[in-house]
């Protein structure tokens, strides 16, 4: 046997003819599709181009982005304690957290948004008071609930329920032995969570959270029903005037796609960041 000639280091890869043809076919179909879309006047590409960066569209975009960031941040901040409460041995805390998740996941987001927007019909006044005791502070509900606050309340409280479950799953994915170690070393629960448990849970938390964020960007379009001027609302306002429905929707679609693409890149970066110490993705 000639081991030198059979050394695998010298091996050639045969040309993958089948895969090459497949690629070619897919490229051809894609090009043809692009040609049809570009050549179809009904898409109104010149209109899309002229409105893509119109002031009102950009304002709508910034409302969508701002709302997403605020609602997502609040969703995580509220979801974290709910997840911790749900995992605690305390029956009362665990029960309350379960009730929260049950309610907010069990009702449509659209209904929740409209509900917050119309809160004043239920409670004309909002007050902070000692239960059954004197009132400390009170406001007129209509002054507090604007489309903005209703949108933030609706989106973030709903998001918190989903994030709580994602975070809980992440915390449960961490090896029991890690909790043992933090206990044995006399770490407080909060310290152990912050330094040892959460960083490890993040690997399981980041991918579904990226998913949530992308859903959230699209879910913000629901706020157009409560007259909040987000991206969708602003293109609707334009096509209600010009009747160029499809081109204006394309404007919104392009922006949604651009933003979600940027987020995909960010998610990949975060996933590598939290893979520290795992087999995949060793940092230098």
């Amino acid at each position: 046997m000639d081991d030198a000639a059979r050394d695998v280091a010298r091996a050639h890869r045969p040309f993958p003819l089948g895969r090459g043809l497949l690629w070619l076919a897919v490229m051809l179909i894609a090009a043809d599709f692009a040609w049809i879309v570009a050549g179809n006047g009904n898409f109104g590409w010149p209109v899309v181009a002229s409105y893509l960066t119109t002031a009102s569209v950009l304002e709508g975009l910034s409302v969508t982005l701002g709302l997403t960031v605020v609602a997502m941040t609040l969703g995580v901040l509220i979801g974290l304690p709910i997840a911790i409460a749900r995992l605690s041995n305390d029956r009362l805390l665990g029960g309350l957290a379960g009730l929260y998740i049950w309610f907010f996941r069990g009702t449509p987001l659209l209904v929740q948004l409209i509900f917050w927007y119309n809160l004043s019909t239920l409670f004309p006044e909002i007050a902070i008071s000692i239960p059954f005791g004197p009132t400390l502070l009170h406001w007129n509900t209509n002054d507090v609930i604007t489309p903005m606050t209703a949108a933030i309340a609706g989106l973030s409280l709903n998001e918190a329920a989903y994030m709580a479950e994602i975070i809980r799953g992440g915390l449960l994915s961490v090896d029991r032995g890690q909790v043992e170690a933090t206990d044995a070393f006399g770490m407080t629960r909060a310290y152990a969570l912050r330094r040892i448990i959460l960083p490890q849970a993040m690997r399981a938390i980041v991918p579904p959270t990226g998913n949530q964020l992308i859903s959230m960007i699209k879910a913000t379009s629901l706020v157009s029903v409560i007259a909040m001027a987000d991206l969708l609302y602003s293109v609707q306002t334009i096509y209600n005037r010009t009747f160029e429905v499809i081109p204006m929707l394309l404007v919104a679609v392009l922006w949604y796609l651009l933003v979600t693409s940027v987020l995909n890149v960010g998610q990949g970066w975060l996933e590598r960041r939290f893979a520290r110490g795992s087999e995949r993705g060793q940092p230098a």
Binding site: G177, A184, F185, R276, G277
Partner: protein, 254 residues
């Protein structure tokens, strides 16, 4: 006075009584090896000493302070969760499955509790950590993550991590049971070194050889009782209790 004083300790999990009245004393600087068949309650006893499990009856004192309880106006009250957490800080523990923090390097693992829990200055903790790693023969592994280390190396990092808090007492729960046979020796050698340095250690293990040449005293547990204890020579060479004899004969044949 003994550093660890255990009196009439009982512990049940539901209907299963695992510790059935344990009495044990460990003097400062003493190395005690606990032997016994699987399920006899060795791990449970160890975990009760640093209050990872709460006992149902009896008393455990470490360094003169009662674990998990205190006298207040001549009434015994349970300590708050925060006070229990503080009590544990003087006791180091080494686990069968190492339980290193996988997202931290060896050095970060070692300094985590000294800096974050004991408030030691970072620079001093790092210097101490390097010293400990050198003692463990791991001077070149400071920046390695646990997954990049062999089982024996991981367990030695875990021992360094337990030493870094300058514990009054070190607990080992089967530190070599998860290791490949050829890696057991390096960990036992490290533990022998520690035993010779005046540390107080309670070691649960199945390594009779380690018990013979590193222990000051061997304690044999069976079915939730301490049934025999004494010098390694007495317990290992001339056991008086039939169950100790049976257990040891199984190991000696290997």
């Amino acid at each position: 006075m003994s550093l660890v004083r255990i009196r009439n300790v009982h512990k049940s999990f539901g209907a299963l009584e695992v510790l059935k009245g344990i009495d044990l004393d460990v003097a400062a600087g003493e190395v005690v090896v606990i032997l016994g068949p699987s399920g006899s309650g060795k791990s449970t006893l160890l975990r009760c000493i640093n209050h990872l499990e709460a006992i149902d009856r009896g008393v455990i004192d470490v360094d003169g302070a009662q674990i998990g309880h205190t006298m207040r106006h001549s009434r015994l009250v349970k300590l708050s969760a925060a006070a229990i957490v503080r009590q544990r800080r003087q006791i180091g523990m080494v686990f069968q499955s190492f339980n290193l923090y996988p997202h931290m390097t060896a050095l970060e693992n070692i300094i985590e509790a000294p800096v974050g829990v004991h408030g030691e200055p970072r620079a001093a903790a790092i210097a101490h950590a390097h010293e400990l790693l050198a003692r463990m023969g791991l001077a070149d592994k400071a920046t390695a993550y646990p997954r990049q280390l062999s089982g024996g190396q991981q367990q030695r990092v875990a021992i360094a991590r337990a030493l870094a808090i300058r514990p009054k007492l070190l607990l080992f729960d089967e530190p070599t049971s998860a290791l490949d046979p050829e890696l057991v020796g390096e960990v036992l050698a490290t533990m022998r070194d520690l035993a010779g340095q005046g540390l107080t250690m309670i070691v649960v293990t199945h390594e009779i050889g380690f018990a013979r040449d590193a222990a000051d005293r061997v304690v044999f547990m069976d079915d939730g009782h301490v049934i025999e204890q004494g010098t390694p020579a007495a317990v290992l060479e001339a056991p008086t209790h039939p169950r100790t004899r049976l257990f040891l004969s199984r190991f000696m044949r290997q």
